[in-house]
């Protein structure tokens, strides 16, 4: 294990940005571990959420933004609900995802592709077109067997529409994404 130089590796700007974007005071965390204790996803994380909080406090930008955990948080709000210091931990996890995405980290690529495909579907149609979303996800990831076992279960139920539900405000929706992309590009 590397020896951590606390002064040299402390990224003050990172700490300040996490606090500003999340509206949370990360110094409130006293490392009780309640978030990790309740998090249903701890088993899948590479870094448990309480340690992510600690790494944020310690200004360890790279360690935080390159971890897998921030992509596997489902925002189930168990950490936020139970934090004894009323920290909105789930919101911090969200903000870390935003930062990771902006800085080019995507350690759970499939998750990112799934979310991107979802939003792409919203952008195109105004409402999510589930079959189209799945097709795009499979195309982008090359995981052709994704949920193939579910096809015989769901297809006979006639629930999965094969045509998108168009809305009148389709162009309006596309503009939301367009403005967002422009703003992201500027910042």
């Amino acid at each position: 294990m590397d020896v951590l130089d606390l002064s040299a590796s402390y990224d003050a700007d990172f700490v300040a940005r996490v606090q500003a974007e999340s509206g949370q005071n990360t110094a409130l965390c006293y490392q009780c571990g309640n978030c990790t204790a309740g998090c249903p996803y701890t088993f899948a994380y590479d870094i448990p959420v309480s340690r992510i909080m600690r790494l944020v406090q310690a200004g360890q930008r790279r360690a935080v933004l390159s971890c897998r955990s921030i992509w596997l948080c489902a925002t189930c709000e168990s950490c936020t609900t139970r934090c004894p210091n009323d920290i909105d931990v789930a919101r911090i996890m969200d903000v870390l995802r935003h930062m990771a995405r902006r800085e080019g980290f995507a350690t759970e690529r499939n998750v990112k592709v799934f979310w991107d495909s979802f939003l792409d579907s919203v952008r195109r149609h105004g409402r999510v077109f589930e079959a189209g979303l799945l097709a795009r996800y499979v195309f982008l990831t090359g995981r052709f067997w994704t949920d193939a076992d579910l096809a015989p279960r769901i297809l006979p139920k006639n629930k999965l529409g094969l045509k998108p539900h168009a809305i009148k405000g389709q162009a309006e929706m596309a503009k939301i994404f367009q403005r967002f992309a422009e703003q992201e590009g500027r910042s």
Binding site: G33, A37, G38, P48, R82, P84, N85
Partner: protein, 652 residues
């Protein structure tokens, strides 16, 4: 008049943001100021000597000290000017620390504001006149409220010091929370064995009057002369006749009264003596469960009682006691863990509180000292302790550390191993707080010798799993989520202010904090005094503390009482209201607004006039602002003085 002004640096506390030398120079321009200087620490011996020296050499007849709050050092400087040969009320203070240097950073603005405050003080001092306190007699009796270990200690120490003590206890026996404990840390000695004799001493002490099942209803008067009304609640048993034989308890057909001594673990008979060592050992009927009261017929206890002590028609009685001092030792209550829905919110029978567990461990408890699961009576093998339930948790408005839970949890883990040798205890903790003598060694022993597994992390949830409970927590040192199956979960519930504390504080005219704990006069230097003269604090009423600290504070409060009573007479503050009889029209408005009953109407040459009872007046000034004629004036806060102060401020 020749006035001297002393501007204190208070080290860098004031000098850091106030140019004290400049304030002193400016003061020389104020009317009648004959001397001004800045001093490093005016409260220090050389500082006080400088004041005395200046008074004597310059012939000053009044002094302004510009330093800290008068709450801090007014008595100090009054003594100093008295030593210099002046009347001690020829002193004014300008608070340039709390009101200036500590709250602003701009040195120039601070210096100007300090000079303004000195100017105001000078104008007030110019209108002061020497005052002489009156002396009055005191009642050498003390009221102790609360019969837990702190109150017991205070009562015994006062009684041993020769004072008469009135001890008022809300429940039917003294002993408090300590009487419910099985063992005490860090010595693991039997709680009732060490407390029992003290309780007996209370019962037998000729100087102590004990009112159990009683509450303080009303408090009037002032230091040295309080009048207290005590409501003795109807027990429906004549305690003079009751011998505490317990025959009534055995025969009582209703066994479902809330067993508060056993923390609700068992049921109690509707007529009950809470525990064998109870003091007084007298029965009390709970009318909510007594069939005689609920159904109108039963009378079994009345028939069985060998001394005919049962009296269903008994009513509350209010007695009046005169005392000179009061010790508030009303203890604490436990945090209500039903606020933690993730721990079952009180729905899982095998999730219990630490005090319930204590009753289970106690040989005199509802299980006879056998640890049994409330759900099925089985002996647990895996016991999980969860600390900080209602402590250090902002989300339930309990951000403070209750202080003693780490220690009692270690004790309970040790006792668990003693009771059930093949059991395994697991303790979830955040930090171990064990700063007392032999305390840390004790928690180490729980781990090293008794094999308690300590896990550093909080528990997020408890869920039933078959007959067991699944405890899911974190081990932050391992950096992972952990799960433990438990047969019994013990919640180390924190301490909170006793219910009704704010209400009692208002009766006592003392302050309480936002959590309901009584405020001491100074957190370090006056830990048992309150800001109301003659009212003292002991035990957890002031904040969570363990038995040694509670006993220590009980003794400390007693020493304060004995010190107060050692004086032949007390002096009253002469800064009180005076009635100008020529102006008074006898409207009696002042009499009706006075919160202390310090004004009464007299007949003066056939006309009604107000008169102030000097020893009762507290100098609050309500009468002075009420009087439509300006006939009532508060000494040293006269209308003229206040106007002069305002004038001094507004002129610049």
């Amino acid at each position: 008049m020749k006035i001297g002004v002393f501007v204190c640096h208070c080290g860098s506390n004031i000098e850091g943001t106030v140019d004290t030398a400049a304030v002193a120079r400016a003061s020389l321009e104020f009317p009648e100021v004959a001397h001004a200087e800045d001093v490093m620490y005016s409260c220090s011996e050389p500082g006080q000597e400088a004041i005395i020296e200046a008074v004597r050499s310059k012939g000053l007849d009044g002094v302004v000290v510009a330093s800290c709050t008068p709450r801090m050092h007014e008595p100090t400087f009054r003594r100093a000017v008295e030593r210099a040969g002046l009347n001690r009320y020829m002193l004014e203070m300008a608070n340039i620390r709390e009101h200036v240097s500590w709250i602003g950073k701009n040195r120039e603005a601070n210096t100007n504001k300090s000079a303004d405050l000195v100017r105001i003080a000078v104008e007030k001092l110019r209108r002061n006149r020497p005052l002489t306190p009156k002396r009055f007699d005191i009642t050498r009796r003390v009221l102790v409220i609360g019969g837990g270990v702190a109150g017991i200690q205070a009562a015994l120490d006062c009684a041993d010091g020769g004072m008469e003590v009135v001890l008022v206890e809300k429940t039917s026996s003294i002993g408090g929370k300590m009487a419910k404990l099985d063992k005490t840390f860090p010595t693991v000695d039997c709680s009732s064995c060490i407390l029992g004799p003290k309780m007996v001493d209370v019962a037998q002490h000729p100087n102590i009057t004990l009112y159990a099942c009683a509450e303080v209803e009303e408090i009037g008067g002032y230091v040295g002369n309080f009048t207290v009304k005590v409501r003795r609640k109807a027990t429906y048993v004549d305690w003079v006749k009751c011998t505490g034989c317990g025959a009534c308890m055995e025969k009582c057909p209703s066994k479902k009264s809330h067993d508060s001594f056993n923390e609700g673990l068992g049921g109690a008979p509707a007529i009950n003596i809470p525990f064998p060592q109870a003091i007084p050992k007298k029965a009390v009927i709970d009318p909510a469960f007594c069939r005689q009261f609920v159904k109108g017929k039963c009378g079994v206890c009345a028939k069985i009682c060998p001394t005919k002590a049962i009296d269903y028609s008994m009513r509350d009685e209010v007695v009046e006691e005169k005392v000179g001092a009061i010790v508030a030792a009303t203890g604490f209550d436990l945090f209500d863990h039903s606020k933690y829905g993730e721990y079952g919110g009180g729905r899982y029978p095998d999730v219990i509180t630490s005090l319930q567990y204590e009753r289970m461990l106690s040989a005199s408890g509802p299980t006879g000292g056998h640890v049994k699961r409330p759900s099925d009576g089985r002996e647990p093998r895996s016991v999980v302790f969860i600390q900080c339930v209602g402590s250090r948790d902002k989300s339930v408005d309990r951000p403070y550390c209750s202080g003693f839970c780490c220690m009692y949890t270690a004790k309970q883990a040790i006792l668990t191993k003693d009771h059930i040798p093949d059991s395994q205890s697991t303790v979830f903790y955040m930090d171990i707080r064990s700063p007392g003598k032999l305390y840390d060694e004790f928690t180490r022993r729980a781990m090293e010798e008794y094999g308690a597994r300590y896990v550093r992390g909080r528990v997020a949830m408890i869920t039933p799993k078959g007959r067991k409970l699944l405890v899911r927590g974190a081990d932050t040192l391992l950096g992972t989520q952990v799960e433990v199956e438990a047969d019994l979960v013990v919640l180390a519930v924190g301490a909170e202010a006793a219910k009704g504390s704010p209400h009692l504080a208002e009766k006592l005219r003392i302050s309480y904090d936002k959590y309901g704990f009584f405020m001491e006069s100074h957190p370090k230097l006056r830990p048992v005094e309150t800001n109301t003269a003659g009212v003292y604090l002991a035990g957890c009423a002031q904040g969570p503390k363990d038995i040694p600290s509670s006993v220590g504070q009980g003794s400390a409060a007693a020493s304060k009482v004995l010190g107060l009573f050692s004086k032949a007479q007390l002096e009253s503050d002469p800064q009180i209201s005076q009635v100008n009889l020529a102006r008074c029209v006898g409207c009696a408005k002042c009499e009706s607004t006075c919160p202390f009953g310090a004004i009464h109407m007299i007949d003066f040459r056939g006309q009604p006039k107000a008169e102030v009872i000097e020893t009762v007046c507290q100098g609050c000034g309500i009468c002075a602002v009420t009087c439509p004629q300006g006939a009532v004036q508060l000494e040293h806060f006269t209308d003229n003085q206040i106007l002069a102060e305002v004038d001094a401020l507004c002129r610049f």
